[in-house]
């Protein structure tokens, strides 16, 4: 399973793609079970150059029945900095935030690594 993420151009906010628009909460991110659909969304996102910077797909894992980013780095992006739990998206709380905070199993952010390799 994968999701599409980027940083919003105007303020740098971490955003996720869902059905043709960008949302701030990972909980609302569109999940792509199908590689082709994810890559099509990524290709479209790359044309939105005045909205987002460097969109890329991230891998997800099942964490307590909720999909969470596989890589530790992407979980930090989806939550906010671990040194300030009242900053970033984690401040809002909720089941998905809890699941992400408790998720285990870290791996490199494959989408990010691909992005770096392309440079």
């Amino acid at each position: 399973m994968r999701a599409l993420t980027a940083n919003r151009l105007i303020d740098g906010e971490v955003v996720f793609w869902t059905d043709g628009r960008w949302v701030e909460r990972f909980a609302e991110a569109q999940l792509f079970a199908d590689d082709e659909a994810g890559e099509a969304a990524e290709a479209h996102a790359k044309t939105e150059v005045t909205t987002v910077v460097e969109p890329y797909l991230i891998d997800l894992i099942d964490a307590e029945g909720i999909w969470a980013p596989l890589s530790y780095r992407e979980r930090i992006r989806a939550l906010g900095p671990p040194n300030h739990h009242d900053h970033g998206k984690q401040a809002e709380g909720g089941a998905v935030v809890e699941a992400l905070l408790n998720a285990h199993g870290a791996a490199r952010s494959t989408g990010r690594v691909n992005l770096i390799k392309r440079k």
């Binding site: 940083n7 151009l9 105007i10 303020d11 740098g12 906010e13 971490v14 150059v49 005045t50 910077v53 460097e54 890589s71 530790y72 780095r73 930090i76 992006r77 906010g80 900095p81 671990p82 040194n83 300030h84 900053h87 970033g88 199993g105 870290a106 791996a107 490199r108």
Partner: protein, 551 residues
């Protein structure tokens, strides 16, 4: 403190207006991200994990109270009420919005500040001794030369597109508080046999992927020839430094490849060819020097009875004085170190209220002078001993009086994976765990000087190579692991640390530091510091203690 003139102020206003236009063009789609990125980086604006990060230059770590208050105001208005002081004595805000950046640059310009040359392959902010103008050890005020270098290097057309970034440090004391030997150029002020002022010039130091301690290429450079000699070094580097591989583009690689002797020969040849045309005239040097005229001190006795009486009744003040109060050149004064390393806090972070407390104290008790150290603390360089108790009380109320300067909990840590887009692992929680483990101030004092430095990736912003104990975060099959090195130093006895053994998981690091400290306490002889004991015993006893379970 150096004061900007009308030309400086106009330049900053123009630069800010230019960036406002560039941001507008980016948001309108007239500039692509590839076109815009180098422009924003030239103004210190990075895109990190959660938001944009703005790195603000604090030239040679020197601030006045008005500037500090403006930083506090910016943090409240545009960030989340705090900032992070870095190992380059700059300040980073981690929650900046692109749309606000031009307004922030205007706010900075209103107090003669900016973010120019805090990124990019140019000459970055110059580091100078944070005790400049206050310590009796110095041969001359290093800020004079740091300011001369700042003026010469700012938007210098020949040196704005170097093979890679370039960092210069200036120290004037035997005790080096600038890590000069691990800068691209380290300048140590010396006196010649005839009493004339000059510099020992060290080149090719650096950390990152390939750490080197710099080599001395000139034992004594007459001070007034500084700029032409720097130009000769930069020209040789600009011509021969690699541009095909950013990992091999720093001057340290060139110096190591050519050999220090051959590099020096080429610099001397270049220097001779160029002559002294670019050296600063005496009148200009005198103008800069006047900005750092010695502060007016009162004539006081060396011993303050009020301070001695206060210490006698307050163990907390006595401990603060032992660890955070340093000798001043003027009788009756002291240098006060303000700790940004409260136990469990993020190293180098200060919130807006803390910034304002320091600004107020500098104004009331410290001759309006504030310094930032490369060890991520602040300094009030000129405090009367009579006032130290009052300063301590105000700092303590703001959680800025942790009596741990140079001790085990005075840890350098980069922002790491909590914020940084380049990091492989977190640095902040490792620092917090270690500090909490050594929270007992008696134990910390018993251990004595111990410099722990943590980086979240090989770029080494946390200076891990030169920690007495260095800690490098690595990504091991996707897990955060930490590689320990021992025996490094960024001071006058500079050295790159030696690897201890296989990387440790996050939950083993604080325990391992504890084990290393216990070995030191067992092995130390006389007044040895951790570093001295390590240098005498070698790595074996330390390695045995940490990896005992593995055998």
């Amino acid at each position: 403190m150096y004061q900007y003139d009308a030309i400086d102020k106009d330049f900053l206003a123009d630069r800010s207006a230019e960036f406002r236009g560039q941001v507008a063009r980016r948001l309108a789609g007239e500039l692509s991200e590839d076109q815009f990125k180098p422009l924003r980086l030239m103004n210190g604006l990075y895109l990190q994990l959660h938001a944009y990060m703005l790195r603000i230059a604090i030239p040679y770590g020197s601030l006045n109270p008005t500037q500090m208050r403006k930083l506090a105001e910016i943090s409240r208005t545009y960030d989340k009420g705090y900032g992070h002081f870095t190992t380059r004595t700059n300040l980073q805000f981690h929650w900046i919005k692109l749309k606000d950046a031009p307004d922030i640059l205007d706010a900075l310009a209103s107090v003669d500040m900016h973010a120019i040359q805090t990124s990019g392959n140019c000459i970055r902010n110059v580091t100078a001794d944070p005790y400049a103008g206050a310590t009796a050890e110095e041969l001359d005020d290093p800020r004079v030369w740091a300011e001369a270098i700042r003026q010469w290097s700012t938007v210098h057309p020949e040196f704005s597109w170097l093979p890679r970034k370039f960092k210069i440090a200036v120290t004037a004391s035997v005790k080096d508080r600038t890590a000069a030997r691990v800068h691209d150029i380290g300048l140590a002020i010396r006196r010649g046999r005839d009493g004339a002022l000059g510099f020992e010039v060290m080149v090719g130091g650096g950390l990152g992927r390939t750490p080197y301690v710099g080599s001395t290429i000139r034992e004594f450079l007459p001070a007034k020839r500084l700029v032409s000699y720097l130009e000769a070094i930069l020209r040789v580097y600009n011509r021969l430094g690699r541009r095909d591989n950013s990992n091999k583009a720093r001057i340290k690689i060139l110096v190591a490849t050519l050999g220090a002797e051959e590099f020096a020969r080429q610099v001397e040849a270049e220097w001779e060819k160029a002559g002294d045309a670019s050296d600063l005239p005496d009148t200009e040097l005198a103008r800069i020097r006047a900005a750092f005229a010695p502060t007016r001190f009162e004539t006081l006795t060396a011993r303050s009875e009020a301070f001695e009486a206060a210490k006698a009744t307050s163990p907390a003040l006595a401990r603060f004085a032992r660890n955070n109060l340093k000798p001043h050149k003027q009788p009756g004064y002291g240098i006060v170190e303000v700790s940004l390393k409260a136990i469990g806090a993020t190293p180098g972070d200060a919130n807006a209220e803390q910034m304002e407390v320091v600004a107020d104290l500098a104004e009331r008790y410290g001759q309006g002078d504030i310094r930032v150290t490369h060890e991520q603390n602040l300094v009030l360089p000129h405090v009367k001993l009579d006032d130290v108790a009052a300063v301590h009380a105000a700092l303590a109320a703001a959680e800025l009086a942790t009596p741990n300067m140079g001790l085990v909990s005075d840890i350098i840590a980069c922002p790491g994976l909590d914020y940084c887009a380049l990091a492989n692992a977190r640095a902040i929680p490792i620092a917090q765990h270690i500090a909490e483990r050594f929270a007992d101030p008696d134990r910390a004092e018993a251990v004595g000087e111990l410099k722990i430095k943590i980086s979240g990736c090989i770029n080494a912003c946390g200076h891990h190579h030169i920690g007495h104990i260095g800690i490098l975060g690595v990504d091991k099959k996707g897990e955060e692991f930490y590689q320990l090195t021992l025996g490094g130093s960024g001071a006058e006895d500079a050295a790159v640390g030696q690897m201890l053994g296989p990387a440790l998981p996050a939950n083993r690091v604080a325990e391992a530091v504890d084990q290393l400290v216990e070995v030191y306490l067992r092995e130390r002889q006389g007044e040895e510091r951790f570093l001295d004991t390590f240098r005498r015993t070698g790595v074996s006893p330390f390695k045995e203690a940490v990896y005992a379970d593995a055998h």
